[in-house]
Amino acid sequence: MGMALANNNAQFRQAALRQVRSQRVASALAVCTGLCMTALVYAPVLWLGVLSVSGDPLGGFPGDFTWRWYRALFAQVAWLAPLLLSVRIALLVAVLCMAGATLAGRVLPRMRRTRRLLLACFLLPLAIPGMVIGLNVFIFYRVFGGLRMGLWSLVLVHLVGAFPFALLGLMVVSLRFETSLLEAAADLGAGPWRRFWDIERPLLMPGIVTAGMFGFLLSLTELPRSLFVAGHLRTLPLYIWAEASSRASHLPLIYCLNTMLAVVSTAISVTAVLALRARLRH
């Protein structure tokens, strides 16, 4: 009897060890692939930075460290106008995203019956390729409606691309919002506006900031949707796209421009994330 039990115990222990080992291997594999993939996504951004200060950016290995390209970049101002236009559009889109996402996102968790339908309506553009949206907007408004493309059409397509993300970003916060807080405020005498300003706004602020940030960054880096609705205007991504496919000699300057863009975007994102984490820990 004692012998049989000892055998059994040994078997169990072996099985347990095997299980733990295989789990560890699986985890390690998962992490490796995942991090590799993530590196794949972000490596170009970092490499751009390296190339922008390399003496021989078009060659194989990066050459010596040099600021030459940056100086050449600042020597000409062709890229300033597109940059300012992109920033203007991005700010506008950010504000509209914040307002719209707050308006919809604060109420959607409470609307039990129609919530799915409305969410599907707002999130539909996520499932449609950017180019298709841009083309459709162009054909609808320009060919069918006869309106000339301009700033408004750019803002429109950027909004269509960014708003779903902004809404999702806000709903992550609003889904955890306690509605009894609003009832308590009403109970104490607060009218609808007061309830929004005193209770909802402060507690939803992380989500509102996220919505604005998504709107700003997604608009700043928007390319496929803008391809068809820009009319005579050039946003920064469009400018980069045109320059990169035309003259190879301009490529190093493009690298510098992109690096600066990347630095600014990262700075905005990091500040926003840190600020949000500080608030959430509050």
């Binding site: 985890s27 992490v31 194989g60 390729p129 690298y255």
Partner: protein, 287 residues
Amino acid sequence: MTTLSAEAQVYLLAGVWGLLALVPLLVSPVFSMVGAHGLRIDWHVSFEAFQDIIATGRWLVILRTCGMASLVTAICLASGFPFALWLALKARNPALLTLVWSLLTIPFFLDPAARMLVWRSVLGSSGMINAALLHLHAIHAPLQWLLFSDFAVAFGLVGSYFPNMVMPIYLAISLIDKSLLQASADLGAPPAATLRHVIVPLAMPGIVVGTIFSFVPIMGDGIVSNILGGGNQAYLADSIMALSNAMNYSGVAAATMCLLGLSGFLLALLYIAMRRALPGNGHGFGQ
């Protein structure tokens, strides 16, 4: 505005949104069946645009794009699912978690063209990879197939859409009640069985959403195929852009309809296949 109830405001917003953003999407079905060239619209119903697609052999391009999109989506799913699983269940360090989560959700700091440009210089015949391999004497002549090839396009697409696949799956798994997993183990299921019978069925909505958010945009991606593919109209998006340049708008609409229709069809197939492969995958279970 404040006189309207909060719900009414949302309906109003949805209405405005519908008009501005969703109505233009009707262009695809409508314009594919009329004649629209240049700025003139000829309102007679005709299927000429669709016939063109078959006549000019564009349907081959569509099939090819489908194949590429399926391949890339499969790669993203195979590598993304384990990663999402690890992130949701095993990642302990909160700093690492926030970092990875931020990297996957925050827009990638640069527009897609800029990211692909770097790959063009890295993968080219005088690019870094070839230079390194030559230096190490692993090859004697630069590899031509690294750039302006299907390989390059696939590479770029995976690098662009990996986060789209991971995020929804990660969210779905992290929403699973952990006590369900503990119960499964408690009842004697090894980790693989818990994965198969508990995690995958409950995370299925996330997997489906991740697949949709990857497959459909990949089908319509013209940037990667243009920069890394050499722009020789090998893929549907390039085709559509060419049609657009030629101002053949009914052709554009028809091609778009094919794109959306095919995507929808394949995804429906996928959805049915997944539901059948996982019987009793608990609709209403833990929702």
